[in-house]
């Protein structure tokens, strides 16, 4: 990773336009995967803008066909092989601090999600005040297939979806389009991509941080999209509610199998197949995580997820993350050997371990920045 500082800075472009600051993720070939340096740069910018009275609004977008596919895991795994697991933990600690800052930010952030939004990409956008989806938006949290689990406070925002849709999206990694994101509250607006330049220009004319004013500007370019006929949101919420509300992953799968007997349906069997292909450990720890997250604030969710992700990086409980990255990102044989290989082999005590502190003298719980010095507006703590 011998890239010069300037080339790293190019990966995050900044444009000042009267009271607005437009931040563009600029790593289009890697679909704007977020490197450690990019995260640090974002953290720096957000901190500075909060103090700067000349900044009233932040616009965040991505260059190319993705907003961002999330953390640059391929590089991370390479770096960790060279060094040790704490590099990984450190990466996530930085990401989570950025997310907490965004989730409690005192100025409005408008994220323009005109393309792929995954994992960390969702993390740096959905916790902000306004999320604009378009007809090009495709959202997913596919970590369970990678031997990781939906993090970036996904246990907070997925659990706020209607019914048990959050469990479904997090466990299966299924995609949501712009209309679906709007329906479940993940997006606040839907703007056809053709109108984005106009929207941006209008936002740059704003001299206020008042969310009501900003919302009404975005409203002018918004339209109400209709859900696709086959959308899960249209057709599957009942089944999802019945099955994904079950107590355990095993019970979720058997509930789906029962449904499959009643009404043979390719969507159900595909869902079962996806679950069976994912890392059993990932599924179990994510289910526990979202169930706890439903009842917690965003800060508590991040602290818990940091414990979990540190265990995943440390690799003492399971090496599924490394195996998943090998099979999907490096060797690309798409045939990971999960260990433990079956859901039944993972008991509650084993899942518990992921939620305990990591036993290592240099490791400590995530320390969230103290945000009490800011007059946080009422919407700053929870938005979904």
């Amino acid at each position: 990773m011998a890239s010069s500082v300037s080339s790293q800075q190019d990966k995050v472009l900044v444009e000042a336009n009267s009271f607005a600051r437009i931040i563009t993720l600029n790593r289009p070939k890697q679909l704007n995967a977020l490197s450690f340096q990019m995260i640090s740069r974002l953290l720096e910018l957000f901190l500075a803008y909060e103090e700067d009275p000349n900044v009233k609004l932040i616009i965040l977008k991505g260059k190319g066909r993705a907003f961002s596919v999330g953390g640059d895991v391929a590089t991370l795994v390479r770096d960790m092989r060279a060094d040790d697991w704490r590099v990984g933990a450190n990466f996530f600690s930085q990401v989570f601090k950025l997310i907490y800052l965004i989730a409690t930010y005192s100025k409005p952030q408008v994220s323009i999600l005109n393309g792929i939004v995954m994992g960390g990409g969702a993390g740096i956008s959905v916790h902000g005040r306004f999320r604009v989806a378009t007809e090009n938006t495709s959202f997913a949290m596919p970590e369970a297939a990678l031997g990781l689990f939906p993090d970036v406070a996904a246990s907070y925002f997925l659990s706020r979806f209607p019914g048990f849709l959050g469990e479904y999206v997090g466990l299966t990694g299924s995609r949501l389009d712009g209309a679906e994101m709007l329906a479940c509250g993940l997006a606040t607006h839907f703007v056809p991509s053709a109108k984005l330049p106009l929207l941006e220009a209008a936002l740059c004319d704003v001299d206020s941080s008042d969310p009501v004013i900003i919302s009404s500007i975005i409203d002018q370019y918004s339209k109400q999209p209709s859900l696709k006929e086959l959308s899960v949101y249209n057709r599957r919420l009942d089944v999802i509610d019945r099955c994904f509300s079950q107590r355990t992953v095993e019970e979720i799968i058997s509930a789906l199998e029962r449904e499959d007997v009643h009404q043979s349906d390719s969507w159900i069997s595909a869902t079962i197949q996806t679950l069976k292909k994912s890392s059993p450990t990932s599924l179990k720890i994510f289910l526990r995580s979202i169930r706890e997250g439903r009842l917690q604030g965003v800060g508590q969710c991040l602290v818990r997820e940091y414990r979990m992700v540190s265990h995943v990086m440390q690799g003492e409980l399971s090496k599924d993350f490394f195996e998943g990255c090998r099979a999907t990102l490096l060797d690309k044989d798409k045939n990971p050997n999960w260990e433990p290989s079956k859901l039944e082999l993972i008991d509650d005590a084993r899942v518990d371990c992921y939620f305990c502190k990591v036993k290592h003298e240099e490791w400590e719980d995530l320390k969230l920045p103290n945000r009490s010095q800011f007059e946080l507006p009422p919407y700053a703590i929870a938005k979904l």
Partner: protein, 669 residues
């Protein structure tokens, strides 16, 4: 003239709109600041929750999640947060239908799986957790489930035999049938042995004939009877060949598959109540209803086809006690759920007291947070200590119940009676204090604390009137005393072993460290129990020697009996606190629990009996009070962490626990 001048000044201010003297002066309007921003946690609240919830934490969160995610549980957004709570402004009929729909929803998602068809400690504890969570949402939901699973289901399980189990338990668990429990009558509540419903046996047809002979024999308060129940267990005198064999239990179908009331059964509504309107309490009359012989729940006694009465238990007293078995688990369940209502109310009122201010000490200074007033601390913090104590005692009681043996039945009866009475009374006291601590906001139904009083008041009389339960406790202690004396043996069980040791002595000077030592506190609690038991025995014996019957003697010594019951209960609860504390390694968790433990016991030492019987000198009494105020201010910084550890999800608290300014703003109207 001064007044006129002042008035003019105010009017001028209004008209001229003075600009603030300096740009640094604070905004005149109050703003909401979440307590989390100013308070910090000195211990791990998650560990604390695990300790006081005691079991099935994930199961609880899963159930909370099921309710939180369903429209049926009436989610409403207030101040940027979603709260779930029934709409108590609905009509009685609507509330009943909603309660039933919520049960169906939980049923479909497997929330009751194994509740009657599986055996063992694991499922019993899971069931308790499920009940506690349902009670946090709504007492009607809890009660309707309790009647169906614990009373109806429990009666089948404990009073029935194999063929009853096979026939009814699975159908009950999946709600193919809906059960209720017809014990109480208009004329007889706590005195079940006096019920007037009569059952005879017709050997020609092999049927029992159940009859309500007079108006006072109508079954009353039968939860589920007014709308939903299809079956009931009827408690009735059994007359065989002219001999009354005492109270027995029979299964009777009261509605058909279409929901119509069966022939020879009449049902009426109990009407609107001060709370629990989601439960369809009804009244039932039986007009010589015929049921097959197999419908007698025959684990205790049976009637042969030709009409002979057969019982393995000769003694009618013991036979009756066996019939009361299903009520024990109900009492355990009620006791445990009441602790959770205290948790809800305290979490709400403490969070409010950490964000609401009133009065400035000096002009132009910010107003003072409610919880920074020593008097407000004195009102709420001891109640937190009590709630922690009750949590540990509730966990002990549940373990005692699930690990029951035939030998431990008596202990379970005594402990569950005393804890049920103590917890439910304490809960009502806590709810009232919390409601007042929230001021006018406590009156709003959406804020829960005030409303819970109406909902939970019934706990002090159902499944055993608290006063009667406490009398039973004293009587049982009396019996223990007599048995030990008669056989000249040491006391064993019920925690009475301290009676065998020399009488503890209270030091004349009480230092702060003495007042906080668990040894001293335990001594002080034992001393009172011991002395009151001695006095009670002496007074009862004296009455008897003057020619009164034993029963009459008990009645006359009621004042001592009440004090003794409380003394036993306080000491037994304290014991469980010390045991829970002992399981912890040294650290921040243990430290704060140690302080709470001392506070709990010191509050008990404030009871009038300590001065009435002279266990504490006037001077000692003053030291106790002083120490209590000191501990309250020491615990003040932990207040938020202590109530957060109760583990009640935000959605199950109320708007005043969070941003109550936003929740009441014009834009939210």
């Amino acid at each position: 003239m001064d007044r006129a001048f002042q008035r003019t000044q105010i009017l001028t201010n209004h008209l001229l709109q003075f600009s603030p003297p300096s740009p640094l002066s604070s905004n005149a309007c109050l703003s909401y600041s979440p307590p989390e921003l100013s308070e910090s946690y000195a211990f791990d609240v998650k560990e604390m929750r695990k300790l006081i919830d005691g079991h099935n934490v994930e199961e609880r969160d899963w159930l909370f999640g099921l309710m939180r995610q369903s429209k049926l549980f009436n989610p409403e957004e207030k101040g940027g947060k979603v709260f779930v709570s029934p709409d108590y402004n609905q009509s009685t009929e609507q509330q009943r239908e909603m309660t039933w729909k919520r049960i169906e929803h939980l049923l479909e998602r497997g929330a009751f799986k194994g509740w009657l068809t599986e055996e063992g400690e694991e499922i019993e504890m899971r069931k308790f957790a499920g009940f506690e969570v349902s009670s946090i949402y709504d007492h009607s939901l809890f009660t309707k489930l309790g009647v169906h699973f614990f009373l109806w289901g429990g009666a089948i399980k404990f009073l029935g035999t194999k063929h009853h189990h096979e026939k009814w338990l699975r159908d009950t668990e999946n709600y193919s049938i809906k059960g209720c429990f017809a014990m109480t009558e208009l004329g007889h509540g706590s005195n079940v042995r006096g019920v007037e419903t009569v059952t005879t046996y017709d050997s020609n047809t092999g049927e029992f004939v159940i009859n309500t002979p007079c108006e006072t024999a109508q079954k009353y308060w039968i939860g589920g009877a007014a709308n939903h129940a299809t079956h009931t267990v009827v408690f009735s005198q059994l007359h065989i060949n002219g001999t009354n064999q005492g109270v027995h239990a029979f299964i009777v179908q009261i509605r058909d598959a279409d929901g119509n009331i069966c022939p020879n059964v009449r049902i009426a509504d109990c009407g609107h109540k001060i709370g629990l309107n989601g439960v369809d309490n009804g009244r039932i009359w039986f007009d010589n209803v015929r049921v097959p012989r197999e419908n007698l729940l025959n684990s205790v006694a049976d009637v042969s086809p030709d009409g002979k009465y057969l019982s393995s238990i000769e003694n009618p007293d013991q036979r009756f006690a066996a019939f009361m078995a299903p009520l024990t688990v109900g009492r355990v369940n009620i006791a445990c759920s009441s602790v959770y209502q205290s948790k809800v109310a305290l979490a709400i009122s403490v969070r409010y007291a950490l964000t609401r201010r009133a009065f400035s000490l000096k002009p132009n200074e910010p107003e003072v947070l409610l919880l920074d007033y020593p008097s407000h601390q004195r009102r709420l913090i001891p109640l937190i200590a009590k709630t922690y104590a009750m949590s540990f005692a509730a966990n002990y009681l549940k373990m005692l119940y699930v690990k029951r043996t035939p030998q431990s039945n008596k202990i379970i009866h005594i402990v569950s009676s005393s804890f049920k009475a103590t917890f439910t009374w304490t809960n009502m006291q806590i709810l009232q204090e919390c409601r007042e601590a929230c001021g006018g906001q406590g009156l709003k139904t959406e804020n829960r604390v005030g409303h819970l009083k109406g909902e939970y008041d019934v706990q002090s009389t159902f499944e055993g009137d608290n006063n009667i339960l406490m009398q039973q406790v004293s009587k049982a202690l009396f019996a223990e005393y007599m048995a030990a004396q008669k056989r000249n043996k040491a006391f064993k069980g019920l925690g009475l072993e301290h009676m065998n040791k020399p009488c503890p002595i209270i030091p004349s000077q009480l230092t702060s460290s003495t007042l906080r030592s668990s040894q001293f506190l335990m001594d002080a609690l034992c001393l009172r129990e011991r002395d009151l038991l001695n006095r009670f025995v002496a007074d009862v014996s004296k009455c008897k020697s003057e020619g009164e019957s034993t029963q009459q003697a008990f009645l006359m010594c009621y004042q001592l009996a009440e004090d003794l019951g409380r003394a036993f209960s306080d000491r037994a609860i304290f014991q469980t606190f010390i045991e829970a504390e002992a399981t912890l390694p040294a650290g921040s968790l243990k430290d704060v629990l140690g302080t709470l433990r001392s506070l709990y016991a010191l509050i008990c030492l404030e009871d009038a009996s300590y001065v009435r019987y002279g266990y504490l000198s006037v001077e000692n009494g003053a030291s106790v009070r002083r120490e209590i105020t000191k501990i309250c201010s020491e615990l003040r910084p932990h207040a938020l962490a202590l109530v957060t550890s109760f583990g009640i999800p935000d959605a199950f608290l109320s708007p005043i626990a969070f941003n109550w300014i936003e929740a009441n703003s014009w834009s939210s109207v």
